[in-house]
Structure formats: C-alpha cells, structure tokens
C-alpha cells in the first residue's frame, strides 16, 4: 500500500484538442489522515485535478494513484474508496434527502439494511432529519451541500474529494461544513479540498499547493506559505492619483514584494506589519505626502496571487474548464 492517500505525477490535461491546457504537469502527494488543500482562483485547474483523481476525466498524460490504485487502470477500485462532493451539490432535486442517500448507497453496491441505517444516521448527524422526507427541491443551499457531503460519505470512503465545498455559502453554513470536515479527519478520513479562500485553507489544511493557470506555483504548510507570501498587507489611500504615484516611489523598498496601485490606493505586502507601516509613514511624512487612510490586513487570495505571480487572481483567466462539462455548456 502506498504511503500516500493520493499521489499524482506530472498530470497534464488539455481540452479542445490541445487548445486549452487546464493542467500543465501537476504532481501531488497527499499524506493519509489529513486535509490537503488545492488553492487557486477560477480556471486554475483545481476542479480538473479533482475530476481526474475521481476518475471522471482521464489525464492527457501523467499518472495518479488513489489509495494505491491507478485512476486510469483501476477506476472501479478507486471509486470504491472515494467520496466526491462539491460546489455544484449534485443531489437529485426530485428525490427526498433520504432517497438520495439510499440511491447513492445502492449504486455503491452496499448492503440494503446497512444503507438504511447509514442514511438515517447521516441525516441525523448533518441536521437534516426533519427534512429527510422532503424533496431536495425545497432545501436551502447549505442543506444541499450537507446532503451532498452525506451522499459522499454513505460508503464510508477513506478518501474524500471536496471541490470548493463552501463556495457561495453563508458564514454559518460554512462554519458547519468546516466542523464536519474537521470531525471526519479526526475519524481518520483523508480529505483533498479545493478552495478559493485562503481563510478556509488556513483553517483546515495542514499542507497545500497553490495552483495558477494549471501549474503549481507554491506549496508547503499554510504557515510556510504565509511567511513566504508576506503576512500582512499595508494598504495606503492617498488624496489623489498624483500623490499615489509619488508615494509608491517613496515606499517601494519598504517591502521586497511588488506594490499594487489602483487609483489612489497603494497596497504593499509587508513582513513586519506595524514596523513597516511606521517606516512608510516616516518616508511619506518626510516628503510631505499626506494620506487619506491607512490599514493593515491579512492577505487575501488576491494578494497571494499578486505576490506569487505578479498578476491578480481574476486577471486574464481563460474560460473556466473547471466546471463539469455540462454545467459549462449550460453557462455558455
């Protein structure tokens, strides 16, 4: 048995006969029993990676194993060991919550009595008992996601793929899902999670990789990445764009990272927040450039991307090949 729950070697995936390169040689090693994060903006290739690892798509080149089984050569062995849930909450709207779990259990070839009791306990654990016999059509977004996750868990898979599990959810539903995921990992499940949110990766993932345009641009523990990325963003608002242009020249070497100018706002990723802020203020004061505002904040994914790639997360993103084929078509 492989030491890793998931291992991917140099995965390449192209679409439209090579016209779109969604993944350009991605390698991963996901240790057992922890949450591993794939962080990246829309179109970075996260979902394509999950679809390949869950045997939905085959890679154009490269190889991957899940729980020791090759995703191309032994897809059924892989399918017996994984659960898949995600942002599209692919539950059947015309069935009740209970029926959805029964159906997935049956398609997982599980014993009928086991499925019945498993479905009931999952609905109970995810706070869906009251809605168990209602059509999913009547469920809220958060309820659908929990049911979707429940469906992924019916067969008790050792490895769980969660594709943007909290995208579009309200804060309470997001917290609920995070708690569920943490409990699962405590129980020994390995989770591979994709997210656009640094906060989510930070809270859940022990290790993560950052994907951009189909390539890994950074990897490590969340702490390592934060240090690498710069822990704080210093945001300065000037009175005019002219001031901003003068100001950015004055404070440029406060940080080794590139500054981002947008109108009258200059943003700089800095290592020691307060000290850097004081340094910047001194320089501006000495040159008699006054400020309209100053804030220090945690870096967002945009900042991470700006620092790692020199471009913003939503810049120049090719039409997303991330969504399932059909959903992509529906949007087009």
């Amino acid at each position: 048995m492989s030491d890793f729950a998931v291992e991917a070697n140099d995965i390449v995936r192209t679409f439209n006969d090579g016209g779109v390169q969604a993944l350009k040689g991605v390698s991963l090693r996901v240790p057992r029993g922890e949450v591993f994060g794939l962080l990246g903006p829309n179109g970075s290739g996260k979902t394509t990676m999950v679809r390949i690892l869950s045997t939905i798509l085959s890679p154009t080149s490269g190889s991957a194993t899940v729980d020791g089984f090759d995703v191309v050569k032994h897809p059924d062995e892989v399918r017996r060991r994984i659960g898949l849930a995600g942002q599209y909450a692919t539950v059947d709207e015309n069935l009740t919550g209970y029926e959805n779990l029964r159906m997935i259990g049956s398609l997982n070839h599980l014993d009928k009595d086991y499925v019945i009791s498993r479905a009931k306990s999952l609905l109970d654990e995810f706070g869906l008992s009251d809605a168990a016999n209602r059509n999913v059509k009547t469920y809220s977004g958060g309820m659908r996601r929990r049911l979707d996750l429940g469906a992924a868990l019916v067969a008790n898979p050792p490895i769980l793929f969660l594709d943007e599990p909290t995208t579009g959810l309200d804060p309470q539903s997001r917290q609920d899902l995070w708690t569920i995921i943490e409990n699962l990992v405590e129980g020994g499940t390995t989770v591979l999670l994709t997210t656009q949110y640094l906060e989510e990766a930070d809270r859940l993932c022990k290790q993560l990789v950052v994907l951009d345009k189909g390539s890994i641009i950074a990897q490590g523990t969340s702490q390592e990445l934060k240090t690498q990325l710069g822990a704080t963003v210093l945001s300065l608002t000037f009175h005019s764009t002219g001031d901003a242009a003068r100001g950015v020249e004055l404070i440029r070497d406060v940080s080794a990272k590139p500054a981002n100018v947008e109108g009258t706002v200059v943003e700089l990723t800095v290592e020691g927040g307060p000290a850097a802020a004081a340094d910047a203020l001194r320089r501006l004061d000495a040159a008699h450039v006054s400020l309209a505002g100053l804030t220090l904040r945690e870096p967002s994914l945009d900042d991470v991307f700006l620092n790692l790639t020199g471009h913003k997360a939503d810049d120049d993103v090719t039409p997303s090949d991330d969504a399932p084929t059909s959903i992509r078509k529906a949007r087009a």
């Binding site: 869950s54 015309n94 398609l107 014993d111 868990l153 008790n156 059909s326 529906a330």
Partner: protein, 274 residues
C-alpha cells in the same frame, strides 16, 4: 455535528446482477421524478388523452373519414398508441440533458456502478412510462368507442411491438439529450424529428390522401410500418392496406435495425460527454 464511522457493509452479488440492480436503481429514480414533476406527468399522461379527444371529436367528427368497420375511432386509436409512445421518447432526451446539466451524471461517474446503467436506466424508465401510457390510452380508447376485433393476444402483441419500437427509437433520443447543451434545447431538437415521423405517417390519416410527393416517405417510413402492424394486429380485418401482415415483421426489423445503429451511437456519445 459529529460524524460516526461505522463498518461499511458491501453486499455480494455477481457483477451482472449488480449491473441489473444499478439499471433498476436509476430507472426507479427516473420513475419517481416522472410522478413528482407535474409538468412531466402532464406531458406523458394528459397529452395523449388530449390527442385522443382532439382527433376523435374534433378532426374525426367528420373532417377525417376512413372507410373501415367501426369508423375512424377504430383507425385512430392504434395510431395514437404509436404516436404517444414516440412522443414519450422526447422525455428520454430531456431527462438525460437535465441530468447532464445538473452534474448528476458526473456524480454517477465517480461511483463504482455499472457505467451503462445511466443510459439503460433512462430508457428502461421511459419504457415503464410507455406501458402506463398504453394502458391509459387503451382505457380512454374504449371509453370513446374503440372496438378492436383482433382478440386479446393480438392486442398485447401489438402493444409489445409498439413498446419495442419506441424503446429502440429512444436510444436515438438519448443521443440527442447527450448532445444538447440543456434540456430546453434537447426538447427543441426533438421536434423537427417527431413531427414528420408522427404526422407524415399513417397514424392519423390515410397516406393515400396525402400529396403525391409526400406519399413515398409517408408510406415507407418506420412509424407508418409500425402503425400498419399495430392496426393489423388489433383489428385483424384492416382491408385498406393489403399485405399489412408483413408489416409486423417489417416493424420488428426496423426496431432491431434502429437499436443496432442508435444504441452504439448513444453509448459512444455518453462515453464522450459524461
């Protein structure tokens, strides 16, 4: 919220039995949807009844005349039986397009189920709905004066031939559902096929009353052949069409030929898009 982990119990069956079980699971789920979506129910049950009433009491009240024993109603009902089962195949296209659009087929793809169960389950559930529709049309038909003379066994055989043909044809509609970008488009794509097949046929009127340029197509296209066969079996004494008995074999040949071509086409499409 805690998640308990319990021992997973896999049931043991042979892979063939699992494949059958998967097909039935998917078919059952589709049948539940047909019952629960009011529009689907209207589409599959009420619409055929409307057609019976429309042609029996409006067009058939005098505007359309067919000179056979029992009058137009005896001509009409076997035709309506064929027409409604073919209209039902539209549901195959819509259902598959919807599953694809919602990402459900993706989820199925990540399960250790028989891969073909999605297509087979869909066509089987549509077959089930057609059985229901046939029963309803038979009841409504009798209520509006349909009196076939072919006997019970022939009637059942006629229904089986209709179901066989509609089932084989539904694989073509499965292809359309898989090729369509969404369910609305799937529905729109089926109409240019459904209309000539059902209306430029012997279902509602005699082909000999159609313009000359249309008669060739209308006489030999498969739906006309199936209709001929069904009429022959149900009413036995259909003197309007000589050699109608052959059409039973022609209908079966068409069905086998269609599924031999459409089955692999739909399967290949499914592998490509899903």
């Amino acid at each position: 919220m805690t998640v308990t982990t319990t021992e997973t119990i896999h049931a043991s069956k042979s892979s063939l039995r699992w494949a059958v079980s998967d097909v039935l699971t998917i078919a059952r789920r589709n049948m539940l949807a047909i019952i629960r979506i009011p529009t689907a129910l209207v589409f599959s049950v009420l619409q055929p009844i409307m057609f019976v009433l429309l042609f029996r009491y409006i067009f058939g009240a005098g505007a359309i005349k067919v000179n056979i024993p029992g009058g137009y109603v005896n001509y009409l009902i076997p035709g309506i039986i064929v027409q409604t089962t073919i209209f039902g195949a539209v549901g195959t296209a819509i259902g598959l397009a919807e599953d694809l659009q919602r990402g459900l087929i993706e989820r199925f793809r990540a399960l250790p189920m028989a891969r073909m169960a999605v297509l087979a389950g869909r066509t089987v559930s549509d077959l089930g709905r057609n059985v229901l529709v046939l029963v309803i049309i038979t009841l409504v038909g009798f209520a509006v004066g349909f009196r076939p003379h072919g006997g019970f066994v022939n009637y059942v055989v006629a229904c089986l031939i209709t179901l066989l043909f509609a089932y084989c044809l539904s694989w073509g509609f499965a292809y359309i559902g898989l090729a369509a970008p969404n369910s609305e488009a799937a529905q729109a794509m089926t109409f240019p096929l459904i209309f000539p097949l059902t209306f430029a046929s012997g279902i509602f009127v005699q082909v000999s009353k159609m313009p000359g340029w249309l008669q060739g197509f209308a006489t030999y296209q498969p739906v006309s052949e199936v209709t001929k066969a069904v009429r022959y079996l149900m009413d036995g004494s259909n003197v309007l069409i000589p050699s109608a008995g052959n059409s039973v074999w022609v209908a079966i040949l068409w069905s086998v030929g269609l599924i031999a071509i459409l089955g692999p086409l739909a399967t290949a499409k499914y592998k490509k898009v899903a």
